[in-house]
Assembly symmetry: C2
Homo-oligomer: 222 residues x 2
DNA sequence: TCCTTACGCTACGACCCGTAGCGTAACTGT
DNA sequence: ACAGTTACGCTACGGGTCGTAGCGTAAGGA
């Protein structure tokens, strides 16, 4: 339901074709794969979907909104598995997220819409609601599950817990995105394992020592 | 010296105007501020720079390359301060980087060119050489300095040290970018401090315990 | 049956792209 | 001083996309 009018219970007149919605979003993803973000045009999407160009503009304000909706459903695939330990769960979700970023549809368009959103608050909200919020739930569920397992201490201060969750979210999502799209190097099992070790070690150690000095320990490698 | 021909020692004929280069790059930044990435056009940049549009195309292949060069010089401002401790240094550089991302020129264009680079290897290399590499140096210098201070153990395995540096780089840059541009929330002193604590705690603890299990400790908050 | 809304289609002005062609300007070598 | 070479400004152009208007038709609801 990507259409703009928030909710109108029963409207008279001809209803919008749900099949057209599906065809358009599918055509958008296909066009992203073939042409990439910059060469994707509204006319091309309309032609692929077997729909008039005007129909697109009746539902979406432009390319940005259309692509966000087309890509957002892919994030529904993300799930937090229950593999018995927090480390295994984090590692798995990192690999899932990386696999999603490897898909040409997302690879070419995610950063583009984020870039556009820096000058468009409505678009920013749309991205937050339909993409970012879905990812953040995984972090909250992961923390919840780890607390039930006894792997992380219960956080008495709710506000502080929320800020920590935000921090962890930006670290995980940011690191994976940066590795995959900016550094353009593979997020493989080895990288995911090393990253997870770094993150969880940091969470545990920082929880034990909230001071603000650097710690020094001898030892091996990360 | 953004022009494509790598190096031709002594060329005959009229030399390219260095003043025009400077004016064009300056005009590009100004146009980014006023119009943003998507509405920036080559014609507008040429007009602002007081230069013919054809001159732009004689030096840059297109918008992508031009903007990368125009923004790259801003990254020269980044420096790793020497504040006495690794934590303070990291915190400061995080804030510097965040301030850079707050500038409208970078905010609107960095992710856009990264997005374009997913389908253009030459652009990817250009970004890596003129932007990413400059940031990565800060990580290497930071580690070097921390080792001299005794804050981090010397890493005997050079290959492993390089991989750790890459990991740390993606974590720092990725987290800051994600916080600033995707979550669109401020990277303030508090956030930088909490992030730094998490990172450095993780580095120290993970170095001491390279195993692959999650660690559980009691304690307060990050 | 009337009313309302969605759809397909065509056409349109506006804008931007990237290039070709030309005459002129600037610098190099002999 | 002169020819050779390259850069520059300017104009003009075909090709493409944008986003919208207008029209007739299709598909539901009262």
């Amino acid at each position: 339901m990507p259409s703009r009018p928030p909710a109108e219970p029963t409207r008279s007149g001809r209803p919008r074709s749900a099949a057209a919605d599906a065809a358009i979003l599918e055509a958008t993803r296909a066009s992203l794969v073939d042409l990439g973000w910059s060469k994707l045009t509204m006319g091309d999407v309309a032609a692929r979907a077997g729909v008039a160009k005007t129909t697109l503009y009746r539902r979406w304000a432009g390319k940005n909104e259309l692509v966000v909706d087309a890509v957002a459903v892919l994030f529904d695939e993300l799930e937090l598995p229950d593999l018995g330990s927090l480390a295994a769960d984090v590692e798995a979700v990192v690999l899932q997220f990386a696999a999603l970023l490897e898909r040409p549809e997302t690879k070419t368009s995610l950063m583009a819409v984020v870039s556009e959103s820096t000058r468009d608050e409505a678009l920013r909200n749309r991205i937050r609601d339909s993409i970012v919020a879905r990812q953040k739930r995984l972090v909250l569920r992961g923390r919840e599950r780890a607390r039930d397992r006894g792997e992380l201490p219960a956080e008495p201060d709710a506000a502080m817990a929320a800020r920590t969750a935000d921090l962890v979210f930006d670290v995980i999502a940011g690191a994976v995105v940066h590795r995959a799209l900016v550094s353009a190097e593979p997020v493989d099992t080895d990288w995911a394992r090393r990253f997870t070790l770094l993150l969880l070690s940091g969470l545990a150690a920082a929880a034990a020592q909230p001071a603000r000095t650097a710690c020094q320990k001898p030892g091996g490698s990360v």
